[in-house]
């Protein structure tokens, strides 16, 4: 817990890292100052893209002691304001799952190579980023914890599968190699409470270590103070659960 007599220092900057297919993509990097060792976290940004809320979130994690790296998963769409780039990606049907997973795997490897990281790397994502975080934690070895906040389309009907999203993330559950924290709003439609039930049942079926919390009077994106979806009490409790989970598994 932070107290006012503590020293606190964070450095945050844009860096370049190797992503999918060896592409050099930009990433937002925020880390606590000091020699460490510090735990590390990859962030999978949400559908609105590599935006200010996510930069603030990277900074928030860094100020809590996590070396945090957020790859720009929309890098190949070109550059502009985060909204304009995200709108372009939306029109293209999103980014391919394989590409997002490999970008996030690149972030994990980048973090593991840093001399001041304690050897533990988690992954956090919200919205489409929660889905991408879950996919990465299932398909890539090397993550020690995953936080999926209201990731939609983890459960997908067969007719929704396509070239970019050929496999429903829930179908990779047997391969999940780390504990998962899931936070969901009971008023959400993507994922709906029924889809969260299905996800939970699959985790249980495969004997995975999981912790799901579901909030009443909350829909999609209840952490986002910039949107009308923000729900203060649920968000404050959710953040407490995120930090408790990460401390338990990454310290």
């Amino acid at each position: 817990m932070y107290t006012t007599d503590m020293y606190e220092g964070v450095i945050a900057e844009t860096v370049v890292m190797p992503g999918a297919n060896g592409d050099m993509i930009n990433a937002y990097f925020a880390r606590p100052l000091g020699p460490g060792p510090h735990p590390a976290l990859a962030l999978a940004h949400h559908m609105p893209g590599w935006d200010e809320w996510y930069r603030e979130t990277a900074f928030k994690f860094a100020s809590r002691g996590y070396v945090t790296l957020m790859p720009n998963l929309y890098f190949r769409a070109g550059h502009g304001t985060p909204e304009d780039v995200a709108a372009k990606v939306r029109a293209e049907g999103g980014v391919p799952d394989d590409q997002a997973v490999d970008d996030l795997a690149g972030a994990m490897k980048y973090l593991r190579a840093l001399p001041y990281v304690n050897g533990k790397v988690g992954i956090f994502g919200t919205c489409s980023g929660g889905r991408h975080a879950y996919l990465a934690a299932c398909r890539v070895k090397g993550f020690d914890a995953v936080v999926d906040c209201w990731g939609g389309r983890v459960v997908m009907p067969t007719e929704a599968l396509n070239e970019k999203t050929p496999v429903a993330p829930i179908d990779y559950t047997k391969d999940l190699s780390c504990p998962i924290l899931g936070l969901f709003g009971n008023d959400d439609t993507s994922p709906s409470p029924e889809q969260v039930d299905q996800h939970e049942a699959e985790l249980k079926k495969h004997g995975k270590e999981y912790e799901f919390h579901r909030y009443d009077r909350a829909g999609h994106g209840f952490f986002y103070y910039i949107y009308s979806s923000y729900r203060k009490d649920q968000a404050l409790d959710g953040w407490k659960k995120v930090f408790a989970f990460l401390e338990k598994h990454l310290s």
């Binding site: 070109g78 502009g80 909204e83 709108a87 939306r90 029109a91 389309r153 993507s190």
Partner: protein
């Protein structure tokens, strides 16, 4: 990208963005999370020129009822213009 409900249509016309008017070559219509409108999902229309990059975009985010009203209104205006003999097969070269 939580619903992935999106359709693209080629269009002709102009749009006014932050840098002034530009030629449009498409409209991307989605029902997904808006960036600004106070709804969990909205009918989003991005009028774009793909060749000019992501910033060549004029965006609107509408409620479902607003979108349906807009569609009816556009069709009503076009019907009236047609009835009054104003429709042209090609834009006038003014």
């Amino acid at each position: 990208m939580c619903t992935m409900i999106v359709e693209k249509v080629k269009i002709e016309g102009s749009g006014k963005g932050t840098n002034g008017w530009f030629k449009l070559d498409g409209a991307n219509v989605s029902y997904d999370h808006p960036f600004d409108a106070p709804f969990e999902h909205a009918l989003n229309i991005d009028f774009v020129n793909a060749s000019q990059g992501p910033s060549a975009r004029v965006a609107v985010e509408l409620s479902e009822s607003a979108a349906r009203d807009l569609v009816k209104t556009i069709l009503a205006v076009l019907d009236r213009a047609e009835a009054e003999g104003h429709l042209e097969s090609r834009p006038a070269n003014l």
